[in-house]
Every structure is written in structure tokens, then in C-alpha cells.
Symmetry: C2
Subunit: 357 residues, 2 copies
């Protein structure tokens, strides 16, 4: 893939959505596909029309969940298209792959292919407030065999979806979080740190319960003691404690978010003291020192938490409003993403756009 | 499905395998398929040629692992075809479904459809020693949507595979087991009790390590203390301690095996004392009272364990041979399955075979 990937053209382009975009509901005209076999390694890289794929009923992904994914975004800014730390996503995918015995991918080559795909689909990148083109690279085990073993055949794909703000139109509306005290998402020694498909299916029951109780997201506790804060369903979590920015330390069961990592760097750069350490649910509930809570993630970006419910108690944070440090980090972070604030970290990666791709 | 399911005929039947069958490598001519949508519930039940299916690249099973499966076997005995406690499998599937927010299936109707499918495929049921027709019912989330939520569309399928003995030709050859002390399979509050696809992907790294070290299977310890025996990769585990048959109690993270349940009933029926309780790895390593260990599962049936490796120690069980109680239970259990010993439990379910199905 040093050269451009072959493009199989569609006969007709799709209509672009005119209603509210939502999240992951609309898909663009093209997708990137690549196959893996033991003999050939990764091969058959192609950009082709977005359409159904054929898969064997005995493909291992359908039975044993051998699948990982990534999530990233492309932003359109005037004539420019910008990705945000995309190399980090391919690095993390390879860590997920290693844990699930999926063969490594070549992140540099894939980044070039991704740029080609995004440039081809530039007209699909929405420009409204909070809107972007969500990028979903994923790998699935396709070998048609029911023995439980690491598959010998895989498919890697990238699909694209124009999306709106994750929590609807109001970007900085504080969210309501339910602390799950029965279900467990992950435990050390498991696959919590990987973007493994099965982690998400396992989270649905708790998410459904939280929704029924009027909360938008689940806050997970650790699997061993069910006492230490891990992460929110689709976000890592940060606390402002005595003016310090504090987040749970990575322990093997927490997803190492790229937004998490970026917010830590940004907060330090802005002069905040940052701590990564264990935080118990008691500390969160009983501390008079916690002034703000927010979540971070590619989909949600940075989202203030207004209410936390644990067993019979519900506490209100920052009076249910967005706190000043949360607002400061949000403005700086989204400003760097948008290019309205200088990017001292080299996080923005421009996608070359030519008329002919 | 009170009436027979519609059958879409193949134009040409496949050649049956002539070499060693292996496990889950060959598939029969037909499969059962049924769709789910919120509007229609389960619908479109059909028996059709076994072939690739079309699926959206954004189908939720490929991203979030919302999939469960079951495993059961059909045996051919002269002119009879026999299933073994099939209603238990559909009950367990519904427990798995409930945990993964997948809509319930109608086990009674599905059992009738399964009988129709197996009768249609009767010529695929092998009759050799240790051979059977492996039956794989499974459900996958097919809704094309990247939001993390319980899918609104599913596909339920049954595929069939003629199989040999799970550990190769020698049915009662004692296996070598590696006790995993780093990776964790499941923890209470998680999905360990469900036949959730993601559980199996998460187990591959440990299975690979065990294989590299010369062991056939992993023995998992509990996720909280990493101290109590849970299960083997594809089997539940039993110990003979002072002549008693002892197995780990079900705790939410152990798979409630149907063979496990049957062996408990059979052992009690044969006059053995049976205990379900916690068993620590220290008890296993240091007890002079453990005389036999064996695993149970649909694929492996009942398999003696000859060696157990934990950290730097390896212990030999029953002199690396099959113990007498293991042999007794194996003979009785497979005799009931084969119809050569009376079935006092009503476990055997005959499949009506007519010339016209």
C-alpha cells in the first residue's frame, strides 16, 4: 500500500442524509477492505462500494467474538480535512489484536489508505457544530471453523459514518451517570483494556438498567472489589479534586482512551496538576473536595457529569452545571481539534485533498 | 412452527467427507435460519441450503459481539436418531440471551424445527466410535447501526457438522491441563455463565500459551482471588476426593454445563456422594485425597485429566491413567447416550425419521 489503493467505483452515489445525523446510522459510499490468510498475510486491499459482505455461517466471529474495533473522527474545516492522532488508534488496535490473537496490522500503511478513503469521501464530512465523520476500522475472524482457536483468516475493514454530537444537540449538557454495583464490565487479566467486541455486548444489560432508571451512562467499578472507579460505558472519567485533575490509573481493565491521554497532556500543558491513581466510590460520594466530573471519549469528546447515582444515593456535581475547569479543557481541546487554537502537540493530521483521488 | 418448516431444496447435495472428521470443519447440506425484528418478532423460519450469508458491515455482531451459541449432538443408532437433553440447550440459550439483551427464542418450536432439520440430514450423521452430528444453534445481532445498544434485528441459525472425538481418536486418553494464573476468563457480575461469543475470544491467549507449553487445555481460576477452580476451556471439571465426586459450585462465572448437570445426576443415581462447592488450587495441588480428575462437556463428553501444571509444579493424577470412577461414569453415560444401557432419566429424545421430510 505504498501506492494508492485500487478503487472499485460505484455506479451511483447515495443520497446524503438531510435529517439529524445521529450516531452510526448513515454510511458513506465507499469502504476499505483487506483480507488476511496465513499464506498471504494481509492482502487484497481495496476501496469498494459500501455494501453487504458475504460471510460463512461458521465464520468464527459469529461464534467466538474474535473481533476488535477502533473509533476515530475526521473534521472538515473549510477546504481542509483533519484527523486527530490517528496513529494512536492503529497502535491501540494492535494492542487489542495481540490480546485476542489477531495478526498485527501495518498502521502506517493503513493510515495512508485511510487518508485516501477520507479524501474520496470528503463530501460526506459534515460541518455543523459537533458534527464529524466517524471512522470505524475493525477486524473480524472469518475462518469457517467451529474449533475454538485463533482464526486463520480475517477481514479488516474501515467504514465511515457522518455523525452528530454523541449526546444530541447540546454538547455540554451535563450527563446523568448510574454506578453499577452488580454487573461487572472487566477484571484484571481479562480483555478490558482492549476494544474487544465482546466487552460491549457484556455491557448492554447494565446500560439498559441505567436507561430505565433515567441515567444516560453506566459508571463501572473494578471487578475484584467492586469499589474502585473504572470508566463510563463509552468514556473514561475525570474528577477535579481540590483543583487537581484526577483520573483512574490504567490497570488492565480500563480502556486506555486516546482522548483520555490527550486530556491528561493538555491539562498538564495548561498548568493543572494531574494525578492517575485509584479512586474509590466512597471517595467520590463523600468528598467535599470534588468540584467537577467529566467523561472523555472519541464519540462524546468531553462531557460534563452532573449527577451520580450509587445504590440509594444520588449526588449532584457542580450544581448540575458544567464546571469551569471542564469548560476550559473543553474549549481548548475542541479549539485544537477545530484548528482555531494552535496545536502545540502535533495532534492534527491533515488529509491531502486533490480533485482526483 | 407448529407445522413443518418450509425447506428450500439444494440443486445438488455435497460430497460427504471421507477423511478424518475433526471438529467443526465440515458442514451439512442444509441449515435452519430465522429472523427477528421488533415489529414481527421471530419470523421467516426456513430450512435452506448451507451457504454464505449476507451481512451489513455495520451489523452489530461484528462490532459489539452481541452473539450467543449452543452446542449439542445427534447420534445415529441403527435406524434411530437420538438427541440428548436438547430442551436444556434451548433453556440455556434463553439464559444467555437474557444476559446479552437478546430476545427470547421459543425452545419448543425450535426443537421441532431442529428435529426436522436433523431428520432431513440423517445421512450426515456418522456412526463411528466417538462420532456424532454436532449441532450449533446460534444468534447474532444483525442491525446495521454503530450505536452501542441492544440490537433491534437478529438472525437465529442452526448449522450441523459431522464430528469425530474431540481430543482425536483416543477417547479416554488423559489430557494435560495448564492452570492459568495471569489471564482471567470471567468474574461474578460478568457473562461467564452465558455462552456469549466474546468469552471465547478472550480465552484464546491463554489457550495458545497452554498449547505452546505442551498442555491441551486451560484450567481457569476465579476472577476475584485467582485461587478457586472454575472450569476448563471447553469443559466443566470434576474431582474424586476421598471417593466423593466434587465439582465447583455454579457461581455466575462458571458455565452451567448440561453434561456437568447430567454427570451429577448420574453419579448420585449410581450411589456416589456428590458435592458442589468451592475448591481452591491449593487443595488440588496438596491434597493426598484427590484420586481422579475429569472434565465434562458436549464436545469432549467426559475426559480424564492426567496432569495439572500450576506455576512451577506439575502433578500427575491417577498415575496419568483413567481412574476407575471416571471410567465407570464414562461407560454409564456413553451407554445411556448410545442406548445400550437403559435411560432412567428420559434424557434421550428420539427424532422421528420418515422417508419424506
Amino acid at each position: 500500500m505504498k501506492n494508492a489503493v485500487e478503487v472499485i467505483q460505484r455506479e451511483q452515489l447515495k443520497e446524503k442524509p438531510t435529517e439529524s445525523l445521529g450516531f452510526g446510522q448513515h454510511f458513506t459510499d465507499y469502504m476499505f477492505v483487506m483480507d488476511y490468510s496465513v499464506d498471504k498475510g494481509w492482502h487484497n486491499a481495496v476501496i469498494q462500494p459500501y455494501q453487504n459482505i458475504e460471510i460463512s455461517p461458521s465464520a468464527q466471529v459469529l461464534h467466538y467474538g474474535q473481533a476488535v474495533f477502533e473509533g476515530m473522527k475526521a473534521y472538515r474545516q473549510g477546504e481542509s480535512i483533519v484527523l486527530f492522532r490517528p496513529e494512536e488508534n492503529f497502535k491501540r488496535m494492535n494492542r487489542s489484536n495481540a490480546r485476542l490473537n489477531i495478526p498485527e496490522v501495518d498502521g502506517e500503511c493503513l493510515l495512508e489508505a485511510l487518508k485516501q478513503l477520507v479524501a474520496l469521501e470528503k463530501d460526506w464530512i459534515p460541518e455543523g457544530e459537533g458534527e464529524s465523520l466517524y471512522i470505524r476500522p475493525f477486524v473480524i475472524a472469518t475462518e469457517p471453523h467451529l474449533g475454538v482457536h485463533a482464526a486463520l483468516e480475517y477481514k479488516f475493514m474501515i467504514i465511515l459514518s457522518p455523525v452528530g454530537a454523541y449526546y444530541g444537540d447540546e454538547q455540554l449538557m451535563p450527563t446523568r451517570i448510574y454506578v453499577e454495583d452488580e454487573y461487572v464490565r472487566a477484571v484484571r487479566g481479562g480483555v478490558g483494556f482492549a476494544k474487544a467486541a465482546g466487552n460491549y455486548a457484556a455491557s448492554l444489560a447494565a446500560q439498559t438498567r441505567a436507561s430505565e432508571l433515567g441515567y444516560q451512562q453506566v459508571l463501572w467499578l473494578d471487578g475484584v472489589e467492586q469499589r474502585y472507579i473504572e470508566e463510563v460505558g463509552s468514556m473514561n472519567i475525570f474528577f477535579v479534586i481540590d483543583g487537581k485533575v484526577v483520573t483512574p490509573e490504567l490497570n488492565g481493565s480500563i480502556l486506555p482512551g486516546i482522548t483520555r491521554k490527550s486530556i491528561i497532556q493538555l491539562a498538564e500543558h495548561l498548568g493543572y496538576e494531574v494525578e492517575e491513581r485509584r479512586i474509590s466510590i466512597e471517595e467520590v460520594l463523600d468528598s467535599e473536595h470534588i468540584s467537577e466530573i467529566f467523561g472523555t471519549g472519541t464519540a462524546a469528546v468531553l462531557s460534563p457529569v452532573g449527577f451520580i447515582k450509587y445504590k440509594e444515593r444520588e449526588i449532584k456535581i457542580s450544581g448540575g452545571q458544567t464546571g469551569s475547569i471542564t469548560q476550559h479543557l473543553y474549549d481548548q481541546y475542541t479549539g485544537i481539534q477545530a484548528g482555531t487554537i494552535p496545536d502545540p502537540f502535533g495532534w492534527r493530521v491533515e488529509v491531502p485533498v486533490t480533485d482526483k483521488v
